[in-house]
C-alpha cells in the first residue's frame, strides 16, 4: 500500500476514533450531569443518612481508579443483554465517575454562594421552586463553571481508559494501527494531536462561555 494511502486510511480511522471518544465523553457528561443534579438531593438532605450515603458514593468513586471501575462494570456485573455491550458499559462507568465529580463541583458551587446572597434571596419571599430556578441555579452555574469545564476535559481523557475494556475509540484505534504497522510515534502522535484538539477546544470554549456569563468584575481566577 502506498504511503499516501496508508496515511489517509490512518488519519481517517483515527478521526473516526476521535469522534467516538468525543461522543462517549459528551454522552457521559450529559448523563453524569443529570446524575449529579439528582445527587444534590441527598447531598444537602436533612437526613444524616442520606448525606453520608452521598459522601460514601463520592468517596468510593473518587478513591478508586477509573480503570478499576471500568473493569468491575465490564467483568463483574451481570449480563446487560444490550447490543453495543462495551459502549454501554463504558457510558455507565463514565456516568458514575463523572457524576460523582460533577456532583462535587455543583456542591462546591452551592457552598461558594456567599451568606449574604442566601439571606437576600430568602428575604425576597420567593417560593422554593422559583428560588432554586431564578436565584440559586444561575449563581451555582457561574461559580462552578470553571471546575465543570475541567471535568469536561477529564471526560475526554477518561474515555481513553475505556480502550482497555475493548471499547473502540481513539486510543484503541491507535493501538490497532500501530500493532499492524509499527508506526508508533507517528500514529500515537496523531492520536495525541486529536486529543489535544478536543481537550484544548473544550477548554477554550469553556473560557468563552465563562466570559459571556460573568459580567465585568466577577472575581475568580481560572487555574
Amino acid at each position: 500500500m502506498t504511503s499516501w494511502a496508508m496515511l489517509e486510511s490512518t488519519v481517517t480511522l483515527l478521526a473516526r476514533g476521535a469522534l467516538v471518544s468525543l461522543w462517549l465523553a459528551l454522552a457521559s457528561l450529559a448523563t453524569g450531569t443529570g446524575l449529579a443534579v439528582l445527587l444534590m438531593a441527598p447531598a444537602f438532605s436533612r437526613f444524616g443518612l442520606a448525606r453520608r450515603a452521598y459522601r460514601l458514593f463520592v468517596w468510593i468513586v473518587r478513591g478508586t481508579p477509573v480503570l478499576v471501575q471500568a473493569l468491575l462494570v465490564f467483568y463483574a456485573l451481570p449480563a446487560l443483554d444490550l447490543r453495543s455491550g462495551p459502549y454501554v458499559a463504558g457510558v455507565i462507568v463514565l456516568t458514575l465517575y463523572l457524576g460523582a465529580l460533577i456532583a462535587e463541583v455543583i456542591r462546591g458551587g452551592v457552598l461558594a454562594i456567599p451568606r449574604q446572597q442566601w439571606d437576600s434571596a430568602r428575604s425576597l419571599g420567593l417560593p422554593p421552586g422559583a428560588l432554586l430556578r431564578r436565584v440559586v441555579a444561575p449563581l451555582v452555574i457561574r461559580y462552578s463553571l470553571p471546575a465543570y469545564v475541567n471535568v469536561c476535559v477529564m471526560a475526554v481523557k477518561a474515555s481513553s481508559v475505556l480502550s482497555i475494556i475493548s471499547v473502540w475509540e481513539l486510543t484503541f484505534a491507535a493501538r490497532e494501527i500501530i500493532e499492524r504497522t509499527l508506526a508508533v510515534f507517528s500514529v500515537l502522535g496523531l492520536a495525541a494531536a486529536f486529543y489535544f484538539a478536543m481537550c484544548f477546544g473544550i477548554d477554550r470554549l469553556g473560557r468563552h462561555v465563562e466570559r459571556r456569563l460573568t459580567p465585568g468584575d466577577f472575581a475568580g481566577e481560572r487555574t
Binding site: 473516526r16 468510593i60 456485573l77 455491550g85 475494556i165 475493548s166 484505534a173 493501538r175 500493532e179 509499527l182
Partner: protein, 279 residues
Amino acid sequence: MRTSLRRLAAPLAALALLLSTLVPAAAEERSRLDIVLERGKLIVAALSPTPPFAFTDDKGQLVGFDIDIAHLVAEALFKDPTKIEFVVVNSEGRWPAIESGRADMGVGGTTTYPDRAVRVAFTRPFIDSGISILVAKKSGIKTLADLNSEKNTVANLNNPQMADRAKKFFPKAKVLTFDTPSAEFLAVQSGRANALQIDTAVAEYFANTNKDQFDVLPQLLTPSQNNGIFMKPGDFKWWLFLDTTVGELRSGSWYPRYAEIYQKWFGKNPPPQKFYVTP
C-alpha cells in the same frame, strides 16, 4: 478531606454489601438459540487481532478466517450472512464477553483445553492448531533448546496455558505478557522480546508478512490442537446447533463453503472431508 483510618471499616463494609447486591441473577431459562433467532442478529466476540483468524484491515474492517466462519453461522441462522455484529475482545475479555451474555458465541484462534472447558463450552474443532514459537532472525535462535536461556525474552499471551508452557519448555528465558497476539508481535518487532508463543497459523502469518526478519521454529510446543467456537456452557440447544453447523462445514453439506474460505486465508486445500471420499 481528612480521613482517619478508623472510618475505613464502615465504608468498606458498605462497599462490599453494595456490590454483593449486584451478583448475577439466576441463569436464564431460554436457550440462546431462541434469543438469537428472535433478535434477528448474531453477536460474536472476536479475539482480535489474531491474524489470519481475526484482525482489522487498513480500512478498520474486521476480517479473517474465523470471521468468515462466523458469517456462515449467521447465514445458517438467518439465510443472511450480514445479520451479524462483532465485538472485539482481548485475551482475557473473551470469557466474560460470552459468560455475561454480551456475545452469543466467540471466535478468534481460541484453542480447546480441558481446563478451559470447565468454564467455557466448545464446539468440535473447525480448524486444527498447535502452538509455535516465532523468533526474530537476528536472535540466532534455531531450536527450542536455544530459546531456553536467560538472554532471551519471550512474549506470551496472558492465559495460564501459555504460562505453563513457558515454565515447561523455556524456564530460563524471561517472559513478557501481552493481551493480544499483535501486541506480542509488536514486542518482537521492536526488539523488546526476541520470540513469541502463539498459534501456528498466526505465527506463520506474521512470518510471511515479514519474510526476512522472522522464522517459525519447526518444533511445535503442543500436539495437534483444536480451535473451535466457544460459548457459555449449559445451553445444550445452542451448543447443538453450533456444533452441528461446524460438523457440516468440516465434513458435510457445507464443505465446499469451508474449502473456499480455507483457500482464501491459507492458500491451500483443507483436510479432506472424509478419508474415504476422494475429492
